[in-house]
């Protein structure tokens, strides 16, 4: 039973984290909103002036912005497609009885533990490099012309690298969910004459639907902000072919020192993320009640 005494003690215990997060959420965000309404470049200090929504119209009519939105969505959807489909396949495979299951699990999980800059550089240099990369060697082995991945298909290459990092996450979560499927249910379905395909569609997939939703939502939050992989591989290029929204704002702020423009871009990114977050919060909120 919570008494009045313990309740005020509880409030005191929660206070530091609430205050910190409140400050973290409100102060910088309010500053971003404020900056986004200014003409403010770090190269011209003291020249700040109110600019209304100019930064937004500038940002929203910039062709690079549309390219960035397209690229952001392409990265999110491309990686989601690969990791969810691949993750379901891998989880089903790893759920089967086999020798050395624990070791295979460890091998599959590993890419998720690799820091993004290492993952991206290893893929860029040792695999995708058109001269010395392993893919170039494989292509020559098959009598093909080596393909310069990052120059000719920068976005696809980045999607592949990021998908490699996130496939383990999807697999791990789907496998955990799969293992909670009642064995007897599966046997009962089998006794009733359900084939492997219909068992998958009518029993396994509905059981996994919740885990799949969680994977999609959580990955989306992180994938909207892919940054390091782009920075060390293509630097957003060639041109803006592999610039996503996060990278565009970074370039605007720290390469062009345009505080106002970058802030407007940041606010647009926040709005986009909020739309996704809305659905995620509802999902997780439901699990709290359960």
């Amino acid at each position: 039973m919570a008494t009045l005494h313990t309740r005020s003690a509880a409030r005191l215990m929660i206070a530091p984290s609430v205050l910190l997060l409140l400050a973290w959420m409100i102060v910088p965000l309010a500053m971003t909103i404020y900056f986004s309404l200014l003409r403010y470049n770090l190269l011209m200090p003291g020249m700040e002036e109110f600019a209304g929504l100019t930064n937004y119209t500038y940002f929203l009519t910039d062709p690079a912005f549309f390219q960035a939105i397209f690229n952001t969505l392409a990265i999110v959807l491309g990686v989601l497609f690969i990791t969810v489909v691949g993750g379901i396949g891998l989880a089903l495979l790893l759920d089967q009885p086999m020798f050395g299951q624990g070791i295979v699990r460890i091998l599959v999980i590993a890419p998720f533990l690799i820091m993004p800059t290492v993952a991206a550089l290893v893929w860029k240099n040792m695999f995708m490099n058109p001269v010395n990369g392993l893919f170039a060697w494989l292509a020559k082995l098959l009598g093909l012309q080596p393909f310069d991945f990052l120059a000719n298909a920068p976005l696809l290459s980045i999607i592949l690298i990021v998908a490699w990092q996130w496939l383990p996450f999807a697999t791990l979560i789907l496998l955990t969910a799969l293992q909670s499927l009642d064995e007897e249910q599966k046997e009962a379905a089998q006794m009733d004459g359900a084939g492997a395909v219909s068992r998958f569609i009518y029993l396994v997939l509905p059981h996994l639907s919740r885990a799949i939703t969680v994977v999609i939502l959580i990955q989306t939050i992180f994938l909207l902000s892919v940054f390091a992989e782009i920075l060390v591989t293509t630097n957003g290029g060639p041109g803006t072919q592999s610039t996503n929204l996060t990278f565009l704002v970074y370039a605007q702020a720290l390469l062009q020192f345009d505080v106002g423009g970058a802030s407007a871009g940041g606010i647009i990114a926040v709005i986009l993320a909020n739309i996704v977050a809305f659905f995620l919060m509802r999902m997780i909120g439901k699990t709290l009640e359960a």
Binding site: L21, G100, V108, V214, A228, M281
Partner: protein, 276 residues
């Protein structure tokens, strides 16, 4: 009940699963192998897999040329520092929310989680300016502060789900036996909470170690942890495959080992308890 599966089918599954597992792991294995090659062997065509003259020269070279240990220590200080600081702030909160919940506890938890949804670029500009004005750019202290803040919601959530599982009856039993509040905490709750705290610690060290948005944007030569240090290999040194591999191997090895020990907590922590 164990499923009855023919040995033949089990063998086929084993071969398929191992092949896929090794393919997925291959880039890491390849990096590891390349780190022991000479630069010439590293770009040899056809590539050499195992039969080359193993050398540890790259490792000493990376250290002497770019002071690898300094960046390694930055990573250690930043990831452990931010995790421990986070735990210090989070344990009382999670504890209070789990053991004396009010009707607003759920809303507070959801709100904390929502701060995690904010894309970092949304606050990149003000954070950069604040850091510049306060002299926090390129300092370990600055990185510890930011990483504590971005991981605090996850820490609180993980702890909360673990504390929630400690049965309340045990507390009542202890109280019936005449234990005081301090005894209750020291002898009953703490031993039961330690596994949860340890898992949270582990996961957050992994997350902080690999964090690559703030570390890249807010640090330069002095406080750069390994994420930023490795990024400096993007050009033109990246063409030195053997050295890149040695630096990479050292950067990922500690976390790879930690991560393998905490697979289960990984799922739980990253899905905020939605999948256990």
């Amino acid at each position: 009940m164990a499923r009855n599966v023919s040995t033949g089918r089990k063998l086929i599954t084993t071969v398929v699963a191992w092949t896929i597992g090794i393919l997925i792991f291959f880039p890491i294995l390849w990096t590891f192998l390349t780190s022991f090659k000479t630069e010439a062997q590293a770009i040899a065509s056809p590539p050499v897999f195992l039969f080359f003259d193993w050398t540890t020269e790259n490792y000493s070279e990376v250290q002497s040329r770019s002071d690898y240990l300094k960046h390694f220590m930055n990573s250690v200080v930043v990831s452990f520092g931010s995790t421990l600081l986070g735990l210090l702030i989070a344990i009382p909160s999670a504890w209070a929310m789990a053991f004396s919940p009010t009707k607003r506890t759920k809303d507070v938890l959801m709100w904390m989680l929502s701060t995690k949804m904010m894309p970092p670029v949304g606050v990149l500009v003000p954070m950069y300016l604040i850091f510049r004005n306060w002299g926090l750019l390129d300092t370990r202290t600055g990185l510890v502060i930011v990483l504590t803040l971005i991981n605090l919601p996850i820490i609180i959530w993980m702890l909360y789900t673990y504390f929630k599982e400690i049965p309340g009856e045990i507390l009542e039993a202890a109280r019936m036996d005449g234990a005081s509040l301090s005894k209750e905490i020291i002898y009953v709750l703490t031993p039961m909470a330690i596994p949860g705290i340890a898992s949270t610690l582990l996961l957050n060290i992994i997350l902080a170690w690999n964090e690559a948005f703030w570390t890249l944007n807010l640090s330069a030569a002095k406080a750069a942890p390994l994420t930023a240090f490795i990024a400096s290999y993007s050009s033109p040194e990246g063409l030195f495959y053997a050295k890149l591999s040695a630096a990479s191997t050292m950067a990922i090895a500690p976390i790879l080992i930690l991560g393998w020990f905490s697979q289960k907590q990984l799922v739980r922590g990253l899905t905020f308890g939605a999948v256990k």
